[in-house]
């Protein structure tokens, strides 16, 4: 491995500091005994974690967010993986056009996407706000699903699928016994990325929310606009912990090289 220059190393350290230090402040204030969100914390207690996990708007919203992120991820993969194969392995006539279509949510401002969906899905088609959110999030995640699985498909030897066909497997059988398993690390990383993206999304969720179905980030945003208590720090800390656990589990199962390399060799 190449040695990095001292300048690059200092910049990297500075970057980490800029990212991590504010997070540490949030984590620290979550453990306060006092009533206000301030640093340094006054005393040490877990009371705000208690409050956070028993505050019903948060727990309801957490369940909604998990449900939405999970379903949107499954849908995005179910549409995105076949689309990727069709774009990259098939003989589609307008192939770059189709690819552009699937990647476009990546460059459109999410607020615009949200507003368009609000007008079309909820006002015109009168879908309920969960259905509209599911469609909106799926559209948001599709580019990630297509890009990440596509990146691992580029690395996969096309002869693998040909070999399976030659040995007697139908195209469908080949897809399930060879293509999917070979792309598994790419699919898992696409799923993780999609899940986190949906879970954290604010703009689309903000426009498509209702009183009955509201995601956690939107609920937390609403909350801090009204109140300024450590419950928000406690909730953030819990989310942070969950993310770290998820990352560690993924690393254990796959290894980062594979998550980002995205192919089964």
């Amino acid at each position: 491995m190449k040695r990095s220059s001292p300048v690059a190393a200092s910049l990297a350290v500075l970057g980490y500091l800029v990212m991590i230090v504010p997070i540490l402040f949030v984590v620290a204030t979550a453990f306060t005994e006092g009533e206000t969100l301030r640093f340094p914390p006054e005393g040490l207690s877990l009371r705000w974690f208690d409050e956070a996990t028993s505050y019903q708007p948060f727990t309801d919203a957490l369940l909604s967010s998990l449900q939405l992120a999970l379903l949107a991820t499954v849908l995005a993969l179910a549409v995105g993986i076949p689309a990727t194969l069709a774009i990259m392995r098939g003989r589609l006539p307008g192939r770059s056009l189709v690819e552009g279509l699937f990647l476009s949510p990546l460059i459109l401002p999410e607020l615009v996407v949200g507003l368009a969906l609000f007008q079309q899905l909820m006002l015109q088609l009168e879908l309920d706000n969960f259905q509209a959110l599911l469609i909106g999030h799926t559209a948001l995640l599709l580019p990630y699903a297509v890009r990440v699985t596509g990146a691992s498909l580029v690395l996969a030897d096309p002869a693998l699928e040909e070999a399976a066909r030659g040995l007697g497997a139908s195209p469908l059988r080949t897809f399930f016994t060879v293509t999917l398993p070979v792309l598994r690390p790419g699919i898992i990383s696409a799923a993780l990325l999609s899940f986190v993206t949906s879970f954290n999304n604010v703009p689309i969720s903000l426009l498509l929310q209702s009183r009955d179905f509201r995601t956690l980030p939107v609920t937390m945003l609403d909350y801090v606009q009204q109140n300024y208590t450590p419950i928000i720090a406690a909730m953030s800390t819990l989310l942070l912990a969950a993310t770290v656990v998820l990352a560690v589990v993924a690393e254990r199962i796959l290894g980062f090289a594979r998550i980002f390399g995205g192919i089964n060799r």
């Binding site: 066909r165 497997a169 139908s170 060799r265």
Partner: protein, 338 residues
Amino acid sequence: MTTAAEFVAVSRHFGDFTAVDSLDLAIREGALTTLLGPSGCGKTTSLRMLAGYIEPSAGKIMIGGKDHTDAPPEKRDLGMVFQSYALFPHMTVAGNVGFGLKLRKVPRAERARRVAEALELVGLGHLGDRRPKALSGGQQQRVALARAIAIRPRLLLLDEPLSNLDARLRVQMRGEIRRIQAETGLTVVLVTHDQEEALEMSDHMVVMNAGRVMQQGAPDELFPAPANRFVAEFLGYENFLTLPERGLVTVRPELLTVAPGDVGGGETAVSATVRSIAYRGVEVRVALDATTGAGGATTPLVASLRGDALTPEDRAALHPGGRVTVSARPDHLVSLAG
């Protein structure tokens, strides 16, 4: 002779480019046929059309006497070994070899027996539990071979199977593939650009150029009698000269005799000037400029002489600039079509 498969006037175009041009070729049952030719002459395209991975633009692909032109690869029952081996990374070696048998719903016990048999045949009986990536390149290739053979295919197709191996292994695998072919009685089609490999391994060889068959036949028929200059050059002939009465002929370097002095004349003798000499142990290679035209035009020739048969007079004449007479027996000259 039974025909296992046949190309009937098969062409393949890529845009304006013709990769395979009206190919007519019968693959003999139980024999090893090689498609030999320089890179880009259409060998892989032909093999992939036979396997069903590329559709012909025109013509028919017959397998076992039936038209398979429109059949997908999974309906052809052929065993293909890819240049990249294409082993499934998420399966063990035994899983790879048993893949085709599982699809054919061969019962578990028989499957295990046939997997073991196929691995035994390629000399890897002990490696069934490994993952492909834990094997060397040569071993991976044997697994690919076992996987293709395990389904008892109607034909075994090999695309440049030896080109990724190091030189020593390559020569060893030539014999291995012949042995496996003899033991199984399989019909084999092998693609190569190496004429030595084709000569050594084939029952029948097909020399291709620019999408067309230049010549075909058994190695021992084809090598002494190349039909045209392309085939002769590809098989390693170096001497080409136009004789007044016979037109373009070729002759192998070891069939030329070189005598001192400038006697000239005669149908099969020409005078020449020595350009350079290379001693290679027993062999002495002499590069010559033969005077072939009336106006003093010269043609380069190479003669391969036996060093221990040279007389002192011969040796005296063999120096750069020395005048000699080069001759060949008329029946050693091969007339070429052009």
